[in-house]
Symmetry: D2
Subunit: 325 residues, 4 copies
């Protein structure tokens, strides 16, 4: 029972304050014998790194991961995998004033009331920096899944960035989107966004009936990412207007398009489709001159969303081992 742990069988424990000594991840439940792909870990960390794209935050962190345990001779041991990233570019002094003045749209005030003793520096654990631990966990989950399920993959793109609608690749924003965000960064403005995720080659049978439906597990995984405000599968909110004989007819599209690739809470073997809506980040507003923040958090959040999906899939791949005698 922990607010900092995710998963039932394949578990990530996240620790570290944004401007403390280090961020870290403990991965438990990863079976022994998984080939540990350090290059994959490095590239996933690079994807979420701030300061990489013109359109994102200026904080510079090398995010050098140190593997402390759980891996031996290139393979997992079945013991806890502990991975550490030291905070290097922390500038707690930038946040000194927050100690007394909570930031608009942030949670500084509610945390303070709740816990009394709070690390006010950059949000402590409520900072986006915490997500580095999720990317670590997701990378290990991805290693396990890639070794277990041929061709499994996640593709994510932005279908909406504030006023712009389209199919934007987070790594190569088109010029209009880039211009919008660079200007927003300069002017202290920010935008909401919608991310569309598509997961291919998902095995049939993932998810458990009743309270561990795959859709429910994905919903908590993704809604647990900061600034996420809506989760939809398949047709999503449009389904409210639908009539059933049409909605359920194959003419209306694939199971992926309509149901998101999940029926009865269980993956059907079709690709999964999920839409994740982000509200505009509040960070830009009040500390824009000093803090290092993103005008559209969704871009940098995509590797985090994917990490959460990998974690859910790894967990349920293990659950499946328990289904039958």
């Amino acid at each position: 029972m922990s607010a900092n742990r995710f998963g039932s069988l394949f578990q990530l424990t996240s620790f570290g304050e944004s401007h403390g000594v280090a961020m870290g991840a403990i991965v438990e439940g990863c079976p022994s014998g998984v080939k540990f792909d350090e290059e994959l870990l490095r590239s996933e960390l690079l994807r979420r790194r701030p300061g990489r794209l013109k359109a994102t935050s200026g904080r510079e962190e090398e995010d050098q991961a140190e593997i402390l345990s759980g891996v031996f001779e290139g393979k997992t041991l079945g013991t806890p995998i502990a991975i550490l990233i030291r905070n290097q570019d922390a500038r707690p002094q930038d946040y000194e004033e927050m100690k007394t003045e909570p930031r608009t749209g942030h949670a500084d005030d509610v945390w303070k009331d709740k816990f009394s003793n709070v690390d006010h520096r950059g949000g402590g654990r409520s900072s986006g920096r915490e997500t580095v631990s999720r990317v670590i966990g997701g990378a290990v989950a991805q290693m396990f899944l890639r070794q277990s399920v041929a061709g499994i993959s996640i593709q994510s793109e932005l279908s909406q960035i504030g006023p712009l609608q389209g199919a934007f690749q987070p790594e190569h924003l088109d010029p209009a989107a880039e211009e919008l965000l660079v200007a927003a960064k300069r002017e202290g403005r920010s935008f909401g966004a919608k991310v569309q995720m598509r997961i291919e080659n998902v095995p049939q049978g993932l998810g458990q009936p009743v309270f561990r439906k795959l859709k429910a597990e994905l919903a908590t995984a993704l809604m647990g990412v900061g600034a996420v405000i809506a989760i939809e599968f398949g047709e999503g909110v449009e389904a409210a207007k639908a009539e059933g004989t049409q909605f359920h007819s194959e003419a209306a599209g694939s199971e992926t398009d309509r149901y998101g690739g999940i029926r009865g809470g269980i993956s059907t073997g079709d690709p999964l489709q999920i839409h994740v809506t982000f509200k505009p980040p509040a960070s830009v507003l009040d500390v824009a001159k000093k803090g290092r923040h993103d005008p559209c958090i969704a871009i940098r959040a995509i590797p985090v969303l994917e990490a959460m999906v990998w974690l859910v899939l790894a967990d349920h791949l293990l659950w499946m081992r328990l289904d039958r005698v």
Copy 2:
């Protein structure tokens, strides 16, 4: 670790097959000394009962709850509260053909592949009948909350029923909506819908940082209800188009309207606002003549959604006891 249990500290375990002997609920973690309100339990069960409204399924179940344990002299003991409802109007023979022919849009086929031995009668545990256990659990959670938090309440209404938009009261549908659904039932058609929930007098500080954010817990609770396909807080999917300086300005509305009453994953003390989208039920299609199904499942699902919210709130009211030394 169970797919049939919900909650961390305040826990519901649900059991029973739709056309088996009985449905049941075990509530654990309810503190001792809660006044047990049998009348509240009865009225909540009545709200979800099939056959009550013209616009809903024809299955007749008295849903007589028997309290087996955990209550003594009108109060909870702090021991497991076991409550049983026997299945009376089960007609398993109606479903005999499903044994070989899975129903469109249902999960009969994926369950069969997953578990091999499956109770095909009316969906077994994937039936909407399972939700009676949730209503029981939610009623006990509600008793605990009402005794602990003055004025806490949930109001739910339908903001969309297929083609109709409005603010429909589930207990007293307006004539247009009722007509639409009665016709749909007769013709074997069905509709999606959107439910808007508003929770008043929620204490500040509910929810835990990182993976147990209140929004994430509510998301899994509600997405775990059959046919739910999208969850939104506050502005929901519209936030994707928003610009931050406007979105976060108080002129744009209350914290409830914009954020759903949650910041940093923690309740702010403002009312919560959640939107839940249902896809059109598939049941109506293929077994309309025999089975007893609803043309718009959202109506009857409202007490189930509320039960899930009560469970989340009760759980997090207990978590709060652990926050400080």
Copy 3:
């Protein structure tokens, strides 16, 4: 997180007050497809039934188990298995005086201080009657294990009954032991005892390193039975006096005799050997004329001990499925 649930993957939830409506068990995590052996369940319940042996309590309970869910066409479904036993011979009036006067050696007073609202009748959930739920859970675990592991079995005998040392079969006490206990029952006296358990054909590899060692799991399982006051593996307390080169030499006996069949927390494939010490029951003392109690609780507790061992073994047989990629 529940005080009434046992196990991680294969879980028993126990409910019911001794003089309430019913006792019950929910078994979760039992894979689908296990042949459900009702005869085995009946015979295990019969073994722990009071009133069967001259040397045990006079309470008469038929202990008729009703299977409410989780079994279909003779096999488990992978859904929660709920089993109910109604209390028939409850005589709460016998215990009326306990409401004010707690019994010596019992926990009535500490429970009352802890929970405030307590079912004082016959100890409520602290009654030995609660163990009927464990026997149900253990029987289902046993079904799973017998179907999965050839020849697995548990034998238990009493190596000490108060002043008597020997190898007493609980089902057929020898005349000296029977005489001792019948006299004790008449005279309001009681005795401690030691039970020796031997589990044959245990698969190698059960148990998990560090905090889920097989010995630690068995220790909590058995120490959780009322009146148990000591647990020993293999040589047990005698090992404190031992010298290592002798103790670890094969000449000193089998791995079973010395280590109890467990090394590094993991079963070696040798038989397990456990010794369980019971203190003399306190029940006999103060309510002997009215209550229905045992002069040597160990005899009737043996099926309960065995049930707990079956539960641990079933749990760890499932854990093993998660060890390797």
Copy 4:
């Protein structure tokens, strides 16, 4: 669900391989606002450190603890407390031969069969070195308890060391005991031992009925320490011979002496008394010349036993917050 985590509400996660990069501990569930006593942490680590006493192992580790997270301005934050100790005196080459030849009495062979990929160096996670994580966790638990419960304390002494019986202080062994062990170390011999623990000023009401009895929680905590082979409360194995009217009479001693200070699974407010039997360590035998091992592991294990007890008590002090409405 993890084999490397201990506790329900107050949780320790242990990680690290004996001859890997580092050992570590994550403490979750410690409420915010606990004064963090670094000096206490240091002194507890010093107590278990090898190489400190003549009678124990020669491995030299400074055991310098680095606090990575969860503590801010001298107090806990309510977030995960991560503490790291780097391995400095690891000599993996000493253990090279173990790769092929498992050591007598150790678990190298069963682990290898179970996990396939195993860190053979010094036992990996089955090494006694792992217990440094427990001492860290126990120290944090102790800080929480000392701040919450006046006068709570644990005293441990050895009541048996192989052939010697007495009341030996682990920090100041008497000359006879020291001589026995120094000779044993030189000659490659080893001894079993029994430790008696007494916990004073324990609040009444710790422990939960049925499966979380305080005795059951302490049993799993202590039996989970390597080489422990028996656990007794109060009278322990002697209770098997006892007659009830005498055993339960106050003339027979305090509740501590007879029951170990626990009734009905719940602490009575009297001191707790527990006896822990260790088998002789096997390490001395086969690698005595190279490895650095203890002739009587109980001495160095005492701070580990105490750490486990602190963890159990902290966990149950939190549970008590949930007992009543």
